[in-house]
Symmetry: C2
Subunit: 548 residues, 2 copies
Amino acid sequence: MPNKARANLENLYRIFTVPEAPDSTLGAIDQAISDDVTGFLQTHIVAIERNLEEIEANFSSSAIPEEPTYVSEYTEFVKEHLVAQSVHTAAPGFVGHMTSALPYFMLPLARLMTALNQNLVKVETSKAFTPMERQVLAMLHHLVYRREDAFYPPWIHNSQAALGAFCSGGTIANVTALWVARNRLFAPEGAFRGIAREGLGRALKHHGIDGVAVLVSERGHYSFGKAADLLGIGQDQLIKVRTDANNRIDLKLLRQECRRLQDKNIRPLALVGIAGTTETGNVDPLEALADFALEIGCHFHVDAAWGGPTLFSDRYRHLLNGIERADSVTIDAHKQLYVPMGAGMVVFKDPTALSAIEHHAAYILRHGSKDLGSHTLEGSRPGMAMLVHAGLSIIGRKGYELLIDMGIERARTFADMIRQHPDFELTSVPELNILTYRYCPQAIQQTLAGATPELTARINALLDQVCQLLQKHQREAGKTFVSRTRLRTTRYGEGITVLRVVLANPLTTDEILTSVLAEECQIVQQPEIQALLQQVAEMGTAPGLTTG
Amino acid sequence: MPNKARANLENLYRIFTVPEAPDSTLGAIDQAISDDVTGFLQTHIVAIERNLEEIEANFSSSAIPEEPTYVSEYTEFVKEHLVAQSVHTAAPGFVGHMTSALPYFMLPLARLMTALNQNLVKVETSKAFTPMERQVLAMLHHLVYRREDAFYPPWIHNSQAALGAFCSGGTIANVTALWVARNRLFAPEGAFRGIAREGLGRALKHHGIDGVAVLVSERGHYSFGKAADLLGIGQDQLIKVRTDANNRIDLKLLRQECRRLQDKNIRPLALVGIAGTTETGNVDPLEALADFALEIGCHFHVDAAWGGPTLFSDRYRHLLNGIERADSVTIDAHKQLYVPMGAGMVVFKDPTALSAIEHHAAYILRHGSKDLGSHTLEGSRPGMAMLVHAGLSIIGRKGYELLIDMGIERARTFADMIRQHPDFELTSVPELNILTYRYCPQAIQQTLAGATPELTARINALLDQVCQLLQKHQREAGKTFVSRTRLRTTRYGEGITVLRVVLANPLTTDEILTSVLAEECQIVQQPEIQALLQQVAEMGTAPGLTTG
């Protein structure tokens, strides 16, 4: 073997056998994260946002490097160009999205998970991880359905059944739920061997219908759109029912939509209730939806990706009453179970429901095996369930209750701050720990109170621009972060742009929330925004446009 | 606040703010993994397999613990009941599945990824991770399609396009490819607004066809079965074409199947070529498949989840010739890119292909944004692309080439060992680094050489049992591990059970492979297996059953 090749080979063995030295660049980062992850993130992530195009310049080569690079050299690149330009999602002032701080124990446990590198698709590459994942699913099932203790032993480790499916996230969980619903509606029957075998075209023919529909409120997560497309249902048949003033599905309109479907010979496949809408955190009337699903005879799914853990709280659990009647429920662990990104779950009331999507293969997932891959959409998967297991065990029901209660109460406090502030308008009242608002100075609020629909629309269009600029500048400054969305509100009819706040980080204090509003009041002083507000002010005084 | 509640609250803040002390149980594990992960795994994973039912007893409660637990107490549980009973997938003697050792740098980088906890669904929660993931996809695109350098700049960071989709694994990658193929076949056209909007039922009507089909060899991965079900195509329309003696799709039979589909008014949606079948590692004739896909006018997908990285090798790249003509290609990073579990990718020749499954939402994934979630099946996702980026940068093209070449050459060495051993039968010749074989003593091989089909079937049925028991005992002993599957071979007609070996761990030596066979020769001495072999021996001497 030539010398060069031998040297390459030796280097290759080294990277598989010799750990990073503690004083190496990567070793030092590793130690810094172990010692104080908060400090590490604060020190290494640059607060002020750089232009995305500038960042892209560092990731612009499409060629795979020909020669190996030293780990230390690569680590320097990562520090400077990746870590520095990433988002401090754990910061207590980052209240715009659903990513929050992680409990400290998650980090060493996540590393243990990576080191073990188990593959949950089959027992042969996961052994104890398989029963552990099944236990986690049983625990979540128990949280949702509160079945008696005797219910679980026959099912929890039963190879013929599954209390739920572990997924990479809520989207796969929602897709799995609707997949099961679709396959159960079109189950084998007489000469028809079921949709899994024969496909959707023949399934529709067999039932003599022109389509199936999924009904969800207009606040439904975008994953239902993906699911409707993926499953062949079509997004036209994803019926987005309008919400009431509290962002909950309007039951009267729901009934109307169902009649319309009947006229078109389209059968309702699933009714989806939301427990914690992504944008406003509201909870649909789950009891009423359960009744209605029963009445029209369709699958009842609850998307509790966000709000599911509210069930930990003795005080607020009742908000989700009726969830125990759902055929399936999605809960994301990487949201309010405080697990790192990449962990969702869907549980099914009926432990045999998932057999509607069961798949087998000769080299794994054999019939009768306990391989989890036979009941999941995904194949090879990491042992993320371990981190959920750790959270449930270490934090416990009471710990999660405390987190949930704190979040909901902090949202109420923040809503009060907004209400009391003359220049902000609360655009959705928090039911859980999410709320929306917008900047709308007192004078404009008064103008709007007496404005014609036309003036209202013109003012709101300008306020939308204010909102958009405000959010952008705040994000770029990097001190605090809120997100934005567009909501149709009953007050204004059409959609308005609003700021959105999610309060799940236990380290977010009232002082930080005060500073969020203070910073926004500062930002709107910028000439660009003042010019927009000036335009609104002028509109208010123009003749013929106010009714007051 | 009562004292108890205050204490709970303080504990809760602690877990979010105070790292594990280095001398704590979890701190010590963390340090041990940093210092020497190989040693840690060897020390902590119990080799001898415990009964799964016994393990399940430790994961049998469905109740979420009410009270919090100390991290140290939980860690002891994890050590004893989870880690000890997991699978040492990185062991050089674990050659049965596709999980191998990881380069050392992956661990600290994976921890960095967890600590940053970015969410790749949107730029607002991932910033530099978004361009980095796009770069990784461009690099893989380049590896597959080898487009000129000037091709990439207009696409790599283009918000209207995507060179591929990052996924949790190969299953989602294959599903995404077929989803795109389906939606492109049923694109908007005249009054028909496309399948994404109108659904599969109306799409079929619009085209006046009774169904669509996916064609793949019988060695195709089980994910295609899931995809056919999920996408509404139906598994009956997943046409599993028989393979030739080299486990490659039989082109004549493929043509026949297509004619049969035509007679049934079913249109071929996609033709799938496999570059490295899961069970035998063979590569379909990709050039010929590309020609045929062109001829019948359907999407050409290549599942290179396993074999894709062969493209790194100057010596073996030619085995995949024709892959550059595929419309889409799946490559798993958690296989031969040596990244921890949970990283798959699919790249598309046409950078606008993924717009067929584009989805938007008001609060993220806005039109014109660079949010990756608009072009992926999954929603929230971790920053796994960073580990792929690290592998490509640190190991480099030449490092991966070395790994690939070593694996292929080791498989040839092992195949020779099997051929030369009188009591083993090589059941598939390795083309890449996967092979299959079975225990079949010399005398039985001779009997089989002259046996009638009936005798052959009876002998093989008994040898199947031998194979099954052998694999089970070997796994349970925990020294080395091979997997097993069932294969239809041209030699024996029907399926036989075989042992399967995957040689991707660079630490697997020839000595270990010798010991694998030696251990198997020992295991078959067990009375249970000897009794089966005795039965076969008696059959061979029974009159009228041999033709020789």
